[in-house]
């Protein structure tokens, strides 16, 4: 095991990005993710990278489009309201088939909302981060170490599939401190990007990065091609943690910060003799649909826990195809549910079943 450090989630995301080869960061401060920008502003100049504080989130995401088009690993980060501002640029990046990483450290919304943790941007991240037919890869870490590990993966998969990847965290993960260790640096063996607009050196035709296709047939064809890629991703890139589900009568489904709370509740419920497990999606798109479908045939009920009024719960219901009832428990607006609250919901689930 390599050396351990005590790091804040936001710092760990920033350092992991650097170690994954990111040398171009375009940011704009917003609580609760400002440490990412602050960290990058300190580190990037020391390693010959670019840290640029843009004049707005809109500018920052378009700088990412520019830098990534030239073939470098580029990143931006924000929190909920700032991500809304970036959505136009994300759509352009997806339409241009350019890889990049976007961090969203979610806070309470809508509007300016609040600065406390939230998971109310699940729909935004997985369904509608911009206009048009497209998807982005969405990774949902649940610990500071996983923020590091998934950052490497986000850059690699983003490059592999030429599409944006998002790390969807929340204020709790961004601000909490935990020990982490870093995998080996990943900067020397990056593949050459033959599509990049990094100069022809008079050896090839100019590459063009563009999302404007005025001919409907041509545009349709490009979207259909992209969706074929999405099908491969849905098959190959789903990640989840399966915890105590083998003999489970009930399964709690939660991601990110709420999965940690739910895990504590599951452990307590097990002590009371309730056969309950946890299914934690690590990728929200692609979603672990097949795994949940299999579980839905085994368990009596599922409980989805989120820091929102219920967003991922829709995807869980779709995955179960009506095989088992799916209940929901959530707190929102920056309120974090306690393990005890979740435990009570699990007990209610089991009691209702016993009646």
């Amino acid at each position: 095991m390599s050396e351990k450090f005590l790091m804040k989630g936001n710092e760990a995301l920033a350092e992991a990005a650097i170690r994954a080869g990111c040398r171009h960061f375009f940011g704009y401060p917003i609580t609760p993710q400002t440490e990412i920008s602050a960290y990058m502003s300190k580190r990037m100049p020391k390693i010959g990278g670019t840290y640029l504080q843009a004049e707005s989130e809109v500018a920052a995401i378009n700088m990412v489009l520019g830098a990534a088009s030239a073939g470098v690993r580029a990143m931006t980060s924000s929190s909920s309201p700032g991500i809304s501002l970036k959505s136009e640029g994300v759509s352009y990046i997806a339409g241009s088939d350019v890889p990049c990483v976007i961090i969203d450290v979610m806070r309470g919304g809508p509007g300016l909302g609040g600065i406390q943790p939230s998971q109310a941007d699940y729909w935004q991240a997985t369904k509608s981060l911009g206009h048009g037919d497209f998807q982005i890869l969405v990774y949902a870490p649940a610990s500071v170490q996983e923020m590091v590990d998934l950052m490497y993966k986000a850059f690699d998969k983003s490059d592999e599939y030429r599409m944006p990847a998002m790390i969807l965290a929340d204020g709790m993960l961004g601000q909490m401190m935990e020990p982490v260790s870093f995998p080996e640096d990943n900067t020397s063996n990056l593949k050459e990007k033959e599509w990049a607009t990094n100069g022809t050196k008079e050896a090839r035709k100019p590459n063009i990065i563009n999302s404007l296709l005025l001919n409907p047939d041509e545009l349709e064809k490009s979207i259909v091609e992209r969706y074929k890629k999405y099908d491969i991703i849905k098959e190959k890139e789903v990640l989840f943690e399966d915890y105590l589900t083998d003999d489970a009568d009930f399964v709690v489904v939660a991601y990110g910060a709420t999965s940690r709370i739910s895990k504590s509740a599951v452990n307590e419920a097990r002590k009371k003799g309730i056969k309950v497990g946890l299914l934690r999606p690590k990728t929200l798109w692609p979603f672990p649909t097949e795994k949940l479908y299999q579980l839905s045939k085994q368990v009596k009920k599922m409980l989805v826990v989120e820091m929102s009024m219920g967003q991922m719960v829709d995807d869980v219901k779709l995955s179960t195809k009506g095989n088992c009832p799916v209940e929901f428990y959530g707190r929102t607006g920056g309120v974090i549910p306690t393990p005890k609250e979740v435990l009570n919901e699990i007990i209610k689930l089991a009691e209702k079943e016993g009646e």
């Binding site: 351990k4 450090f5 005590l6 790091m7 804040k8 710092e11 350092e15 609580t31 609760p32 440490e35 602050a38 960290y39 300190k42 580190r43 309470g108 909302g113 609040g114 600065i115 406390q116 204020g171 601000q175 401190m177 935990e178 020990p179 920056g334």
Partner: protein, 216 residues
């Protein structure tokens, strides 16, 4: 060690890197000084950090009779770094021991500049917290660079080092032992005395270290 803490000046400024443990130390120091029958005031000067801050401990302080002054909007949804006027009053009150819990890095220390002349006039101790296990201060050299930035932002001079090296709940006594060389180097470069080394109370085996009760 209790003796060293008892002899600190009436105004105690706690600075350090983000996440070096300033708030945790400030809370524990306030409790220790209260046990020594001092009239303790904790000032939350952290205008940088949104979540974990001294204002989170208002209940413990109330119970122990420790006064807490925090930014008016701390722990609300408003991100406004407004400080109250009574901070000046307590800094000038000779009967009160004041602990200033400053924000992280030089950015956090800027808020200190406002009280520069009062602190110089009334006398102060300036504690620089360090944690060897924080990534940006993993070498003594980096910790010194950061201290210089904080000095510049606050226009005050450091008087003590505090070793708060830890890996959170995973810290072992071995991890702490491995900070000896780092601490020695930091003392040599800065020419500052070490006030104390902090240890999580459940790890302490009668060592003469400053016990940190995990309130988090």
């Amino acid at each position: 060690m209790i003796h060293k803490i008892q002899n600190l000046k009436k105004n105690i400024v706690i600075t350090g890197h983000y996440g070096s443990g300033k708030t945790c130390f400030a809370v524990n120091l306030a409790l220790a000084l209260k046990e020594l029958h001092k009239d303790v005031v904790v000032v939350d000067l952290d205008t940088v950090n949104p979540y974990f801050r001294t204002a989170d401990y208002s209940d413990i302080f109330k119970e122990k009779g420790i006064e807490l002054i925090s930014p008016i909007f701390a722990n609300t949804n408003l991100d406004i770094p407004a400080l109250t006027a009574n901070i000046e009053a307590v800094l000038q009150n000779k009967d009160k021991t004041v602990i200033l819990d400053v924000g992280g890095d030089d950015a956090g220390a800027i808020a200190l500049g406002r009280y520069n002349s009062i602190l110089k006039e009334q006398g102060y101790d300036f504690i620089y917290m360090f944690n060897k296990y924080r990534y940006l201060t993993k070498t003594p050299h980096e910790a010194v660079e950061l201290l210089k930035d904080i000095e510049q932002a606050s226009r005050l001079n450091p008087t003590y080092l505090v070793n708060n090296s830890n890996l959170g709940v995973e810290t072992t006594l071995e991890d702490l032992e491995q900070t000896n060389e780092y601490t020695k180097q930091l003392k040599d470069i800065t020419q500052l005395p070490l006030l104390c080394t902090c240890i999580r109370s459940d790890l302490n085996n009668n060592l003469d270290l400053f016990e940190i009760k995990t309130i988090f």
